[in-house]
């Protein structure tokens, strides 16, 4: 009884603070929410070429299990329904429609992949169903005017690239930049960001090489970049290829200034397999802590994360950046639902998602906060640059708010 009272009190306070005094007394529901349950839909590539990311869905499931075991959100259990889309847009449409029309979920949370999300975006917006915290870094998700029901989560690829561009303009204005990028939405978005960031000096990029994920090894591209005489190597690659590049550079005894995109900055997933000795001095930028980096062992947020892994997701690999990612995204989702209180309508969920103020999931870097508003649908837009030294990343410089991008 006492606990109940406490809860109500806390809720009331939260509501007063966060919902700026919206009437709270009556409960309002849309399809997918009841007194006891909130249904959340999700699609993930559990099979197919991108199955490495399936871990994100499993982590989120485990996190929601934890929330449910601890009593749920405002007394409601989360029913997380996650389907496999095999990274194929037609399948994504099929599964999303199944979630919306047959399972009747309240909202879609963290569907993965730019192509899959592009395929379902118009459908969800026309049905006025929140498409929250999509798991892709394309910049197009921050478009509240045209797509008021779609919101991103992580910093966009373009704003990350802007940060590197700024760094290079300041530190190495006469650099000759060579770019290796994956020939897909991720690589092209990133390259565009880099060029936009360099602005008038985009001609600093003297060599561009693209690769396909079907290529077993990217050695040939790196040989070409070296032959082109570049002295800055920007690696817009996914983990396997980033590690290959780091190793190949060391084998060729070629030491340009090496920048690795955040996607592949994982200590456990990239740097360690590629060899610590080969990775000294590599630059990158981050917004989240790294589960394999010993500097966070005593961090209270990460300790919570490790405790969660131990109890609810023992088979989860803390070295895998996707696990950290899923945890942070799921925490953000829970925060939005907490804020929504008893008004679990889709409109209110979207409104709460667009009014996150200084929210900090356990896994974000110190100082990085989630902020959204009705005109700002980019929850995380801060990054900090870092340099690899010894066996861990050393953060340097200020936390950078990318004002160029969105």
């Amino acid at each position: 009884m006492f606990v109940e009272k406490l809860k109500i009190a806390a809720l009331a306070t939260a509501a007063v603070v966060l919902m700026s005094g919206t009437a709270l007394a009556q409960k309002k529901y849309d399809t997918g929410a009841t007194d006891t349950e909130i249904k959340i839909g999700n699609i993930m590539p559990y099979s197919g070429p991108a199955s490495a990311y399936g871990v994100i869905g499993k982590t989120e499931q485990a996190y929601f299990n934890k929330i449910n075991a601890e009593g749920g959100i405002n007394g409601r259990k989360i029913n997380f329904i996650s389907y496999d889309d095999a990274y194929s847009p037609p399948k994504a449409v099929e599964q999303t429609r199944k979630l919306v029309e047959s399972d009747e979920v309240l909202l879609m949370f963290n569907p993965l992949g730019t192509p899959s999300n592009s395929a379902i975006q118009r459908y969800l917006n026309s049905k006025k169903i929140p498409q929250l915290f999509v798991a892709t870094g394309a910049s197009k998700w921050n478009d509240p005017k045209d797509f008021p029901w779609t919101m991103g989560w992580q910093p966009s690829y373009q704003s990350e690239a802007h940060i590197y561009a700024k760094y290079l303009l300041k530190e190495k204005p006469d650099a000759k930049i060579g770019v290796l990028y994956q020939n897909d939405d991720f690589g092209k978005d990133y390259l565009k960001g880099l060029k936009d960031g360099l602005g008038a000096k985009a001609s600093m990029i003297t060599a561009e090489e693209s690769y396909e994920t079907s290529e077993p090894s990217i050695d040939g591209h790196i040989v070409k970049l070296k032959a082109a005489g570049v002295d800055v190597f920007v690696s817009i690659t996914t983990p396997k290829f980033a590690a290959q590049a780091i190793k190949k550079l060391a084998e060729m005894d070629w030491h340009p200034l090496h920048i690795v995109s955040n996607v592949s900055a994982s200590v456990g997933g990239v740097i360690k397999p590629a060899g610590f000795e080969n990775s000294q001095g590599i630059l990158s930028a981050a917004y989240a802590k790294d589960g394999a980096d010993s500097q966070w062992d005593n961090d209270p947020g990460m300790q919570k994360f490790y405790a969660f892994l131990k109890e609810y997701y023992p088979e989860g690999n803390r070295l895998d950046g996707s696990v950290v990612y899923g945890y942070g995204a799921a925490q953000t989702m829970v925060q939005v639902l907490k804020q929504a209180g008893d008004d679990l309508t889709r409109a209110n969920v979207m409104k709460q998602a667009a009014s996150l103020k200084n929210f900090t999931p356990d896994t974000l870097l110190p100082g990085i906060k989630i902020n959204t508003s009705p005109t700002d649908y980019a929850p995380i837009k801060q990054l900090q640059m870092m340099r690899f030294k010894g066996e861990k990343w050393e953060l340097f410089g200020d936390i950078i708010n990318d004002e160029l991008g969105n």
């Binding site: 559990y46 389907y83 194929s88 847009p89 449409v93 099929e94 199944k98 192509p115 592009s118």
Partner: protein, 339 residues
């Protein structure tokens, strides 16, 4: 190594002979299936109608492969490429040039027929695994071609294109999904009937003669080269129309939708439905749409493994696909009647 040694082999045909009568369903059965297909959307949810529409679309694509492999004995792992050409033709025409969706279908059909016919020319010299590799090359090349920079103003590059879903015409009181279903059904039936008649015609007999024994066929005066490329063209044309319909139904095209994975799915659909048995195409399409969903329900982490096991079970029980089941039923019914 032993290049000088020439071997003489009597090659067994890769695809077993299916008599043309056994390629179709009886009239009674056809009417029952047709009635079911027409009535089904009236009783199910919109999302199921969408799935049924996809079933028809994939069914059409499997049918096209069946004409090529079951009809003329040529093997293709490149159907996803023709499907992609069809899908992009419709998407680009509809979104960039405001062409009516129905008009884009014949255009993609003709375009894909031409592409297939041209591709069939070099493929003529190849058979068996070599043809498989050539078509496979086409399938792996297609997503990369669609991503090319200079095509980006039309194709949208890696981001793909969003396609607008058409409303039912003449103010018919039905949802977009239902209208698209009947639209697809009408086209599917028309193509199915056309395909059955094609295989029963002179050309169809020529296809099958080539399938069963190419050298004998040419000795009988069949223009092997012409009919083989023709089979490629027809198959590609139908696949292209299926691709167009798929693009309109899914409302989105992107290079990632048309990878080699799609070609493999269509191939599996053909095997499960029964090579050379046209009605099996729809059974095969059902397999590739619904069995992955079933596998996923059984285990998320192992969905691929479960799918593999289910596929093994199917080919163990019925190595000749759904055709075997149909023949079995037919024989049982016949026995029953005799008593």
């Amino acid at each position: 190594m032993s290049a000088a040694v020439e071997e003489v082999v009597t090659e067994a045909p890769a695809v077993e002979a299916v008599p043309k009568r056994a390629m179709t369903l009886g009239t009674g059965t056809s009417l029952v299936v047709l009635a079911l297909l027409i009535l089904a959307p009236l009783v199910v949810k919109n999302f199921v109608i969408f799935q049924l529409t996809m079933l028809l679309v994939y069914g059409l694509a499997v049918l096209a492969l069946n004409i090529l492999t079951g009809g003329s004995g040529q093997f293709s792992l490149g159907q996803s490429a023709f499907y992609a050409v069809g899908a992009y033709t419709s998407a680009v025409l509809m979104e960039q040039y405001n062409v009516n969706y129905a008009l884009t279908l014949p255009i993609s059909g003709i375009l894909c027929f031409a592409v297939g016919f041209l591709f069939g020319q070099p493929a003529l010299r190849l058979s068996g695994v070599y043809l498989a590799l050539a078509t496979f090359a086409l399938a792996t090349a297609m997503p990369q071609l669609l991503k090319l920079n200079f095509l980006e103003p039309w194709t949208g590059g890696v981001q793909g294109l969003v396609v607008t879903k058409p409303d039912a015409p003449f103010g018919l009181p039905m949802s977009q999904d239902m209208w698209l279903y009947y639209f697809t059904l009408a086209i599917t039936i028309a193509i199915y009937v056309g395909a059955v008649n094609l295989l029963r015609s002179r050309s169809g007999r020529a296809f099958m003669a080539i399938r069963d024994n190419e050298i004998a066929a040419s000795a009988m005066g069949i223009d092997v080269a012409l009919y083989k490329t023709l089979a490629f063209g027809v198959s590609a044309g139908i696949t292209g129309i299926a691709g167009s319909l798929g693009a309109i139904v899914v409302q989105f095209v992107a290079p990632d939708s048309y990878t080699i994975g799609l070609a493999i799915q269509l191939f599996l659909g053909m095997v499960v439905g029964g090579v050379g048995w046209l009605p099996g195409s729809i059974v095969g399409a059902a397999f590739i749409i619904f069995v992955p969903n079933m596998a996923e329900n059984i285990s998320k982490g192992l969905s691929g493994a479960v799918f593999g096991v289910l596929l093994f079970l199917v080919i163990f029980v019925v190595p000749h696909g759904a055709r075997q089941v149909a023949i079995f039923c037919q024989q049982t019914v016949a026995k029953f009647r005799k008593r």
